[in-house]
Amino acid sequence: MSESQNATLEKLAEREYQYGFVTDIESESVPPGLDEGIVRLISSKKNEPEWLLAWRLKALERFLQLAADGTEPTWAMVDYPKIDYQKIIYYSAPKQRKQLSSLDEVDPELLRTYEKLGISLAEQKRLTGVAVDAVFDSVSVATTFRAELEKQGILFCSFSEAVQQHPELVRKYLGSVVPYSDNFFATLNSAVFTDGSFAYVPKGVRCPMELSTYFRINAVGTGQFERTLIIADEGASVSYLEGCTAPKRDENQLHAAVVELVALDDATIKYSTVQNWYPGDKHGVGGIYNFVTKRGACRGKRSKISWTQVETGSAITWKYPSCILQGDDSIGEFYSVAMTTNYQQADTGTKMIHIGRNTSSTIVSKGISAGHGRQAYRGLVHVSPRAVGARNHSRCDSLLLGSTSSAHTFPYLEIENATAQVEHEATTSKIGEDQLFYCRQRGLSEEDAVSLIVNGFCKEVFRELPMEFAVEAQNLLSLSLENTVG
């Protein structure tokens, strides 16, 4: 890397995280620590039915056992000091009256917070076509366009409300894709999850607008443990977006979410994430630990689940949005852009589990690593013995900017059926000198040239995002680039 490139890097490293402000709002928290009392307290605050409490307690028992056995996963290529799970506050919520009859009753300070984040909760101001569930620390504070959606039988609300209003659906599907015993962080989530979004699209309905959840961590010392459940019934289709931000703090905060998707016959779910949790400062202090379990079950014939993620935030990202392709002719997709700058670390990828006949999956992963960023793609393609005619194509490219960054690729291909056709390709290289020179000869600054080339590198993934998000993602990437890279 040339002198001038290094200088560009340093100059750009000065940029600050845009969403790092703190909302001053009175909130109600439980004391830090994790035991049966806390789990019971969370459950009672939410007025949960007995079966759900029992489920949480089973998860808690298992988690405490796992923690005692020291079986926190260590296989990912990330380093962080040991987390003390007894020091985390598992529940924090802005104080408000019990029932809100309309958005007008939401604390104006909260509305302002979301305005500042570019998310207007006032329906008339929203771009039509996007319904938003806003999750602030441990609870959902508002969900827009609910009534309009309900006209078509679409249920979109916070998870807590779903438990009250549609317990039969929640009970049927909760833990059916990610069981409480699935993995260390999913088990923790199952014990202490507080809120999240719930969506159900009934038979034959194509959801007329994008559903979206905006997650915000605000309180100090808390973890965020949300749970999202989306069900597309036969022939239904839905596109769902999530966005996330958090204030700048010197401490690391844990975010351990679980997302479960269920697609029945001929249903389609498109799930897009633009993850911009606070990444820590340029010395690697602070930032969110984003340890998330996301999985979709293509249960029905010809069902399709598509994950698109743009990961630019978090100090550490540990997530593998996956598809279980159970239904014959079902389709799984994973499109990912992950960017690590400063001291960020990401170990991310997907699992495509082929079980039904003639299932197919596509994986496109683009990793960009700059500064001291460290990044690993980790993906599994599993074709089980009965999965006749399975197809997979994977493409993983890594771009390195700067000599202190690193990029790693760990695909696992487990093929137990001879009719499978599986192809995996991966490349790692630095940004092309020729490309940089070409752009600069046309008058672009080095900074703009890098941003342009990187955006081009990610194009295959961006085009999978809903329009509005694609623009946001590009901006985010350019901003992150500014954050550390030339």
């Binding site: 020179f437 070409y438 600069r440 008058g443 672009l444 600054s445 040239a449 080339i453 081009g456 194009k459």
Partner: protein, 250 residues
């Protein structure tokens, strides 16, 4: 406009240019010819400021200013355009987007207002027509999957839009069939004007049938061994470069 004196340059540790003197004035078209390895492309790259090409001695002045201190983008904004011998592919970046970013960077540097999407589109459509380039190329990624001829046309399109003061064409004719050559040459000729200078680097005389130069220079062994009018090119065509062997200082 451009003044090279005793220019020495090396690339990848090898000394390539060994003392070039050349003056190009506004309105002039200069052709630089020479065999492979004579330093033609290095000369083009020195002017555009390619990293890795190092000036070891001598000077390069552009409109009286020392070029060596400027970054590639500063030179581009000052009005130097290099049509690449091997135009670079940039996957995922639409050609039109690239052109607009480039044009606006240059306009901004010249104190002009940036063009909005509509005005830009009108401009690019008109220019694309002139180089007989299908509009669909504007939506495709920069040079990706373009044929050799399409890439060169794209270079000329960029030049037409950016309207440089000095355009350096590095073997723009190589790999072109006669039709493509004619289109490219028409595009170049359309840009000839009293305020603009052209430096046409080529191996073959053929291009000069279409872009008629005012001066021809023969480069060999890193030096200009002969200079003359357009008839020199014809002489080279007949005799080849072999006869230069004796004349060329080693």
């Amino acid at each position: 406009m451009l003044e090279l004196s005793n220019l020495h340059a090396s690339a990848g540790g090898a000394k390539i240019l060994k003392g070039i003197d050349l003056v190009v004035r506004a309105g002039e078209v200069h052709a630089v010819m020479g065999p492979n390895g004579s330093g033609k492309s290095t000369l083009a790259n020195v002017l555009a400021g390619r990293p890795g090409v190092e000036i070891t001695q001598g000077s390069v002045l552009f409109e009286g200013k020392d070029l060596t201190a400027l970054s590639p983008e500063e030179r581009a904004r000052a009005g130097i355009f290099l049509a690449f011998q091997y135009p670079v592919e940039i996957p995922g970046v639409a050609n039109s987007y690239f052109l607009k970013a480039s044009l606006n960077a240059i306009r901004k540097a010249r104190g002009l207002a940036e063009l909005d999407a509509m005005d830009f589109l009108a401009l690019v459509r008109e220019k694309a027509k002139r180089v007989e380039m299908d509009e669909k190329f504007l939506q495709r990624a920069v040079n990706e999957g373009f044929s050799g001829g399409e890439k060169k046309r794209n270079e000329i399109l960029q030049m037409a839009i950016l309207e440089p003061k000095l355009a350096v064409l590095d073997e723009t004719d190589s790999g072109l069939d006669i039709d493509a050559l004619r289109v490219v040459a028409n595009g170049v000729n359309a840009l000839r004007s009293p305020e603009r200078a052209l430096l046409v680097i080529t191996h073959y005389q053929r291009l000069l049938d279409y872009i008629v130069p005012d001066f021809v220079h023969v480069l060999s062994g890193g030096r200009i061994v002969r200079s003359g009018g357009k008839e020199l090119a014809l002489e080279l065509e007949q005799k080849g470069y072999g006869w230069l062997g004796a004349a060329a200082p080693r």
